[in-house]
Structures are given as C-alpha cells and as structure tokens.
C-alpha cells in the first residue's frame, strides 16, 4: 500500500485527531514541530509587543516629523500583519498564545522598542532601526530552520523577512539624514496604503483578519 501511495505512510492512524500530519511530516524531515512553534511564539511576540505596541508610542513622539510618522506607521501596521500571519501557524502546530499577555511579552525574541529617555527624532529612529535589525535576524533564523523541511512556515517567514529588510532600509535612510546629514536611499516607492504589507498581509486569505 505504502509503495502505491507513499504519502499515506507515517505515524498518524486514520481518524486520529490527536495528531496532525501537517506536524508529523516536519518531524519525519528532521524538524521538531514543538521547537518550531515555540520559536514562532517568541517571534510573533516580538512583532506584536516588541514592535507594534511600542512603535505606537514611538510614532506618537515624532511630533513635527510627519514624514517619519508616516514611515513608522507603515512599519507599525506591517509588524501587526506579521503577527496576524503567523498566529494561525502556531495553532496548526499544536501550540497556542500564552493566556497571560505578560507571559507573551516575556517571551519576545527581541527587546521592546521602548521610548528613549531623550525622545529626539534621532534617538527614536535608532530604536526603530535596531528593532528591525533584530527582526531580520529572527526571521532569517526561522527561514534557515524551515528551509527544505517546512514549506508553509518558510513561505510565511520569508514574506515577513522581505518586509523587515525593507523596514531596515527605510530607517537607515531616515537616520542617516537626521543624524549625519547623509543620503542613503532606501530605494523604495511608497506603500499603496498605510501598512499595506505587500508580502505578508493575510487579508487576501481572510478579509476578517
């Protein structure tokens, strides 16, 4: 039978709802689905709390810099989109969000992007830049972890990574000019709408999300 239908092989009996073939196939390929989902929880905590929440505060303090506020708004909303994109994957892998948001915050894989003591535009832009850099490292790690083993998570992670790399370029451009008076173009056109998340939004999958 298994020779005729190789994808019916594995450790999940017919009708068994206690296991997920979508997770067991990862294990068969050498990827621990529990380790992956826990890493995803850490990563989406960084997106939702480490950046989306704190970027809201940072954006509010960019008074007089409407251009910076617009860019920060794009990054803020796109980081929320990253959270929204990956939450379903956590549940698919048998995980769940922590019941207490304080536990969720504790787990963030990146530092919270808190308002600097001196909330100058320069200092805020540096916080934003370093937050994006942390996110790039995290999603690159997840791409490495899932490449060739888990195409679904890999696809999600690489979409997020593409936007994080764009965010870094935006804040390099803005900080370079604000702090150093130097031109280092991000090389991007504007989003279609604030926080468009052209790679990562799950709106096209689910309009209610």
């Amino acid at each position: 039978m298994s020779e005729d239908k190789p994808h019916t092989s594995g450790q999940v009996d017919p009708g068994d709802t206690s296991k997920r073939v979508g997770a067991e196939t990862l294990r068969e390929r050498g990827l621990d689905p529990e380790e992956l989902r826990e890493k995803l929880i850490d990563a989406i905590s960084a997106e939702f709390i480490g950046t989306y929440y704190y970027y809201t505060d940072l954006r509010m303090h960019l008074a007089g810099h409407e251009d910076y506020k617009e860019i920060t708004e794009d990054a803020r909303l796109e980081d929320r989109a990253h959270f929204e994109l990956l939450v379903p994957r956590v549940y698919e892998l048998g995980g769940k969000l922590p019941g207490d948001i304080r536990d969720f915050a504790d787990r963030s894989s990146c530092p919270e992007a808190t308002l600097p003591d001196d909330p100058s535009a320069e200092n805020i832009l540096e916080v934003l830049l370093e937050a994006e850099r942390c996110a790039i490292r995290t999603w690159t790690e997840i791409c490495d972890m899932t490449h060739g083993k888990d195409p679904r998570t890999y696809d999600m992670a690489q979409r997020v990574l593409q936007e994080e790399i764009e965010h870094e370029a935006w804040f390099i451009e803005l900080l370079s000019m604000e702090r150093d008076g130097e031109v280092r173009p991000a090389g991007h056109f504007i989003r279609g709408e604030p926080g468009d998340a052209p790679y990562s939004t799950n709106r096209r999958i689910n309009d209610s999300a």
């Binding site: 922590p98 536990d103 504790d106 894989s109 490292r137 995290t138 790690e141």
Partner: protein, 126 residues
Amino acid sequence: MAVDEAERWTVTIDVPEEAELVEAGERFELSVREDETILSAARADGLWLPADCQQGWCITCAARLEEGEVDMSAARRYYDSDEAAGYVLTCVAKPRSDLRLVVGQSDALLQVRADNDQPPGRSKLN
C-alpha cells in the same frame, strides 16, 4: 583605538558532545579583538554558533564562562544571577582576558532564569 591596534585575546570554545552542531565534541581557539563579540569572531572563523537577536536579549547564544572575563555591558537583558551562575551571551560578550567557554547553553540559562523568576524562563518553564 584603531581596529588593528585593538588588543586581542585568546578565546577557547568547547562545543559539548550533546550540542546540535556539526562541531559537537570539538574545541576551537580564536584570536578575538577586544572590540569584537565572541559570536562575530567565531562565525567569521567558520564556527556557526547559534544566535538570534544579537542584542543580548533572547539567550539563544548563551554560553558558560569557565575561565576569564568578558564585557557584557551591551546586553539588553542580562541579570546578576546569570553572571553568578557563570553564563554569558556570546552575541554581545567582548573578551577582556584570555578565556574559555562552553557554548550551546541556552536551555541551561533558560532554567536559571526560571529558577530566579526572570524572563523568558519564568514564562516558558514555570
């Protein structure tokens, strides 16, 4: 101080047998500048140690310091109890003497954090 004038220290890295690294069971010796992180030096030398945030926060890169001294001032989240238990974060640790460390200690440091009611251990293990 110019980079080429920076003091260098010998960093010995032991990879435990049980580590999920191809270098498990091996010992490496690196020459690391005082202004360079141990993680960066190791990766530049071809030893791909685990890491994530690279801001001294997430503890993925945790190592146990067996001998010597490091500067951990750049860490975003590092507790006195981490230091007391002998753990450092290689992504921000800069050598201040010849030193020796054992890498692949993220689970061990996570337990230390949990034992001391500190994040992220308290939220993952308690």
